[in-house]
């Protein structure tokens, strides 16, 4: 039986729908009354694990799940050893640098060296500023990153933006883009090579479903 890792949060609903389209029904996870963290689909062919987005590639890398859906942002942050099989074209967002709207900074290079930058994406932020040759003090946070510049803890943040509403409502503006992100289909490399539980078939079908959607 193959095991699928699904991310809690924004990508969950679309992920469940996509698996439904390839014949694996995990919609029970969407039921607000559901508390189970793992379920088997009604046809008894696959199991789904409900985990935090950042943990999806971990379960895949260690092989406890063979197939999963995760944001490209997570792949960039964690650089897990997983097979990156398809861009699923949903869950669009972007990782951006933002500052308070009254600040005088208009691009990342305007930020003075050794500025404090708060973020959940410590690796991505570090890499980005390293490439710009800007030594920064990166402050790791786990949520409500927008508060860091509002309270004055940091000059800037590196955070995911989807519509930009949260930033706007908190008086912040995006000044530069690190990369854009969508949901990706990933798989455990060894299981993929060995085609355990007909994994390649499920991955192919899912990719085709997406290609057809984009074409229409």
């Amino acid at each position: 039986m193959i095991t699928v890792a699904l991310p809690k949060g924004a990508l969950l609903e679309d992920s469940i729908r996509l698996f439904q389209e390839i014949g694996l029904d995990f919609s029970a996870l969407n039921d607000p009354k559901n508390r189970a963290l793992q379920i088997v689909d009604p046809t008894n062919t696959a199991r789904a694990l409900l985990v935090r987005a950042l943990d999806v590639p971990v379960y895949i890398e260690y092989g406890q799940a063979q197939m999963g859906i995760v944001g490209y942002d997570v792949l960039r942050e964690k650089t897990p050893k997983v097979a990156d099989l398809a861009d699923l074209q949903f869950g669009y967002c972007r990782l951006s640098v933002a500052v308070t709207s009254d600040s005088r900074y208009e691009r990342s290079l305007d930020l003075p060296a050794h500025t404090r930058v708060a973020t959940k994406f410590v690796q991505c932020a570090r890499e980005y500023f390293h490439e710009l040759d800007l030594p920064m003090e990166i402050i790791p946070l786990y949520g409500s990153v927008e508060l860091a510049p509002i309270t004055g803890m940091s000059e800037a943040i590196v955070d995911l933006v989807s519509t930009g509403r949260t930033l706007h409502e908190n008086g912040l503006v995006e000044i530069e883009l690190l990369f854009e992100s969508t949901a990706h289909l990933i798989a455990h490399p060894l299981s993929y090579r060995l085609n355990r539980g007909n994994l390649a078939h499920y991955c192919d079908t899912m990719r085709q479903t997406i290609t057809e959607k984009v074409a229409t």
């Binding site: 398809a86 090579r193 060995l194 085609n195 390649a200």
Partner: protein
């Protein structure tokens, strides 16, 4: 937070092997070494320390994975991360006069710096073989059959061979423009289809790249797909040899085999077949061994630059041990002593030592231990019970012994 340097802990990524674990490891080593010997391989022990340059000469070892050592030598030293480089060096220098082929096996520790610091082991153990100076289908099958024999001897139940052909894959990659070939290779080796699709390739080449990305399965289906691709003369020749090898293997062994022409290391010294051995337990799938043919490596170490073909494999003993533990194949306790010899008082110490020695000499396989502390009989019986010792001998000064058998 204060620094948490702990005098009483092994460093992260290092470990101690306690007696039970050592016994399991020896059980494994003895079985493997017996098979290596049966096939005519002889043990070689190479140096744990090498010049970093020696280790990285073949291009397959990333210098960042070598743990460096400082001792004031003129060039940097490092701990070996694998055996092949060391054996290649020894084989073409100090063993030059040995008739070919040389069949060598090793069993020892290797070191890898753990860059991610997730607590992966920096020191681990490998046992394996190198067959030097032999080329061709028969030599390749010897290595794979020997590998299969090893896994059977230790009792691994479910294993698969993922077999690739570095030469053939190289030849299949030849039509890609040089500036993109490395990227194509990287994407295929790392199963990164998304990046592969984004490379600026012509439609025809993109199709070829995607076909290569998924060029795996049963030998028949894969060879069928390959036969539809344009191949140069070298490529065709490799396909013919690969078919002979697969035929020979199917006539002599039965294990599950996936032919995977996308199996690549990004930088590698492999020139012919490459393979990974995968073991499956209920809970996980792990690589327990890997190997391949390297026909260009030995020339790098030969004083006159003369080249010799080579092929070998290494088994990862920790992974093997984990798999066997899950299958409950390994001994789970250390054997108890057979005798406990107790001097009744100080005057009886000499006769106790003599009595114990007599037992050992009469029967060399017996384990005989001495009670060292003067204490009462019930403490001694307690100790014997805890340690599972079934025979006690109470010694008097005159050399007489009262033997007591305890129910185990």
């Amino acid at each position: 937070m204060t620094s948490t340097f702990m005098l009483h802990q092994a460093p992260a990524g290092a470990r101690d092997w306690l007696p039970v674990e050592v016994m399991q490891k020896q059980w494994l080593s003895q079985k493997l070494e017996a098979v290596f010997s049966q096939w005519g391989y002889q043990q070689i022990i190479t140096s744990t320390l090498e010049w970093v340059e020696t280790l990285t000469a073949g291009g397959a070892i990333d210098p960042a994975t070598v743990i460096p050592l400082q001792d004031g030598s003129e060039k940097p030293l490092g701990l070996r991360p694998e055996f092949t480089a060391s054996i290649a060096r020894a084989s073409v220098t100090r063993m030059q006069e040995t008739p070919l082929p040389q069949r060598l096996f090793y069993n020892g520790n290797v070191f890898r710096s753990s860059q991610e610091h997730h607590g992966e082991q920096m020191e681990s153990y490998q046992a394996g073989v190198e067959l030097i100076g032999a080329t061709g289908v028969l030599a390749d099958s010897e290595i794979i059959l020997l590998l299969s024999d090893c896994l059977q001897a230790v009792g691994i139940e479910q294993w698969h061979l993922i077999l690739g052909e570095a030469g053939l894959t190289r030849s299949l990659l030849a039509p890609f423009p040089e500036n993109l070939r490395e990227k194509v290779r990287y994407c295929i080796a790392h199963l990164d289809r998304v990046s592969l699709e984004q490379l600026p390739l012509s439609r025809e080449l993109q199709e070829r790249a995607l076909l290569l990305f998924d060029l795996r399965g049963t030998p028949e289906t894969v060879l069928e797909k390959v036969s539809q691709l344009k191949l140069d003369a070298t490529g065709k020749n490799i396909v013919t040899n690969l078919k002979s090898l697969l035929n020979l293997l199917s006539e002599t062994a039965s294990f599950s085999l996936t032919l995977d022409l996308s199996l690549l290391q990004t930088i590698d010294y492999y020139t012919g077949i490459v393979f990974e051995v995968v073991a499956e337990t209920e809970r996980e799938t792990c690589i327990i061994g890997q190997g391949g043919r390297y026909d260009q490596l030995l020339g790098l170490y030969h004083p006159q630059g003369e080249n010799l073909p080579g092929i070998g494999f290494a088994l990862n003993l920790e992974q093997l041990q984990t798999c066997l533990l899950r299958q409950q194949k390994l001994p789970e306790t250390t054997p108890a002593s057979d005798w406990l010899i107790i001097p009744e008082n100080v005057a009886a110490q000499a006769s106790a030592l003599n009595y114990a020695q007599q037992l050992r000499e009469n029967s060399p396989s017996l384990r005989v231990e001495l009670a060292l502390e003067e204490t009462n009989a019930s403490n001694i019986r307690n100790y014997a019970q805890q340690k599972g010792i079934n025979r006690l001998a109470w010694l008097k000064a005159d050399g007489n012994a009262v033997v007591e058998e305890v129910e185990g």
